[in-house]
Amino acid sequence: MGIPLVKAFRLATRDYLHEWQMSFCFVIALAAVLGPMMVLFGLKFGIVGAMVDQLIEDPRNREIRPVSSGRYDRGWLETVGARPDVSFLVPRTRSIAATIELSSEGSARTVRAELIPSAQGDPLLPPGELPEGVTRVVLSHSIAEKLQVGAGETLNGSLVRQFRGDKERVHLPLTVAAVAPAQAFSRDGAFVSVTLLETLEDFRDGRAVPSMGWGGDQGGSNRTYPSFRLYARSIHDVAGLRDAFTDLGVDVHTHAADIERVKQMNRNLTAIYWAIAVIGLFGFSLSLGANLWANVDRKRKELSILRLVGFRTMDIAWFPMVQALYTGVLGWALALGLYQAVARIINAMMASSRSVGCCRTITR
């Protein structure tokens, strides 16, 4: 006939409550070990996490730009674009041809805009806000302000070429598909389709563009591009892609060094954190173990009385374990409470200088 464990549990609980001062001391001792560890944990995750998030969230860190211009044909670009570590790739036309003068009805100004080739999946643009065909463009924030236009409004684009000794100017009506977020492009610019860029380049080069009714020479069919806009799938793919381009003989500019620096710092801090965590956990176990031991030793007589009235050894073994469990759970809870309070203070102190919380709860 075994004594239900419930009785041992109930007695252990009664004892724990009866000795609340002692229990409280054990709980505090435990929280004193755990609390600072949690704060360190929070700081590590907060600071490094924010840096990594910034790296990941900002697509510019994933951009890979050729240093100098080359001659890339469609086939080559398609091969590169098909790589699994490439998330976005569009060709660039010659930058001298990639500008246009824009004006609107709402503003007297005429602004020269850089044209950025864009397409489906452009990481700089919110999904759904895409340039299309030769008429729909996405304006940068600054130029939209200067021209005082918003989505759905129309613009007048104009460009000039020197053709057979004469200066020729053409106009084309454009529609604002959307205004890009300010951080997408800081200068005066417009995201346009590759088709529009090719059309403008053809015009500037003196070739005929029948679809627009622009006359000129008949051009060759083999178009090459001097450059491209490329974004890696993730920041972790940047270094690999850089090496791949170097192997192909294309020198590229990347943020790989910045990424590597942050990743290195993350690795170092993680290692330091783990060292501290292991020491802390060791201290936690030691504290809990010492508490268990001290309790068994202190209560040797009471435990022997339980044995005397017929409690089995296993039931009695539960007695200190139940109490250690209480201490563990309460100590943990108290440490968590302290941590939350400290995290709030630290975040409040840092709020003025940083946009992201330094201390993050473990649940994040």
């Binding site: 006939m1 075994g2 004594i3 009785k7 007695l11 009664r14 004892d15 409550l17 009866h18 000795e19 007589k301 009471e302 022997s304 009385i305 044995r307 005397l308 009235v309 017929g310 409690f311 089995r312 050894t313």
Partner: protein, 239 residues
Amino acid sequence: MYHLRDVVKTREAEGVAFRLRVPSLQIAMGEKIALTGESGCGKSTLLDMLAFLLKPSDTGAFCFRPETDIEPVDVDAYWKAGKLNQLGDLRKRHLGYVIQTGGLLPYLTVRENMNLCRRVLGLKPDGTVEHLAAELGIADHLNKLPDALSTGERQRVAIGRALAHKPTIVIADEPTASLDPYAAQKIMSHFIGLVEELNITVILASHAWRYIKKLGLRQLNHRTVRSADTNLTETIVSG
């Protein structure tokens, strides 16, 4: 009730050995046994063995028969087979134990302390605890914690606890040693009176033989011998 033959318990510490030898011991049901002698002579050792708390070093025979209508239990065989839980169950069902310093659980009230053995056995409240408390003169203290009681009162609670589940045998190890002689005598007479009323076998260790004798207890013979080189103290108990 108890049948012991050639039971030996040897203890050794820092080169000094102590041996308790029981060539033969028979205790019948309803008997009141007294075990006297100065402290350190092995009284507690014998009581602990009789309560199945201490394993004998060597055993000729050790049988326990709590009731006449059941077969005797071979305690030695239980020890040898490591059946500690079965020994615990025997203790729980048939034994009451009063220790020298009361041994009350400080976090339980007097009532809960007295009820402890009954609770462990799953017995329902039937007024026994209240009756015993009244008999022992502690009825007013039932809802107090042991800390609020005097030493004498605590000892009465301990006696009440040992009797509340109506065991077949009560073992008491110097239950009045920490009390003044007057209080000791009073409590002891109460104790023996209750034991007789409930028809419980009692084994009592005490160093105060003078008034124990008056209560009509049978004294176990014992003698202590010290070996020539004084490294071994041996107590021989029989009865």
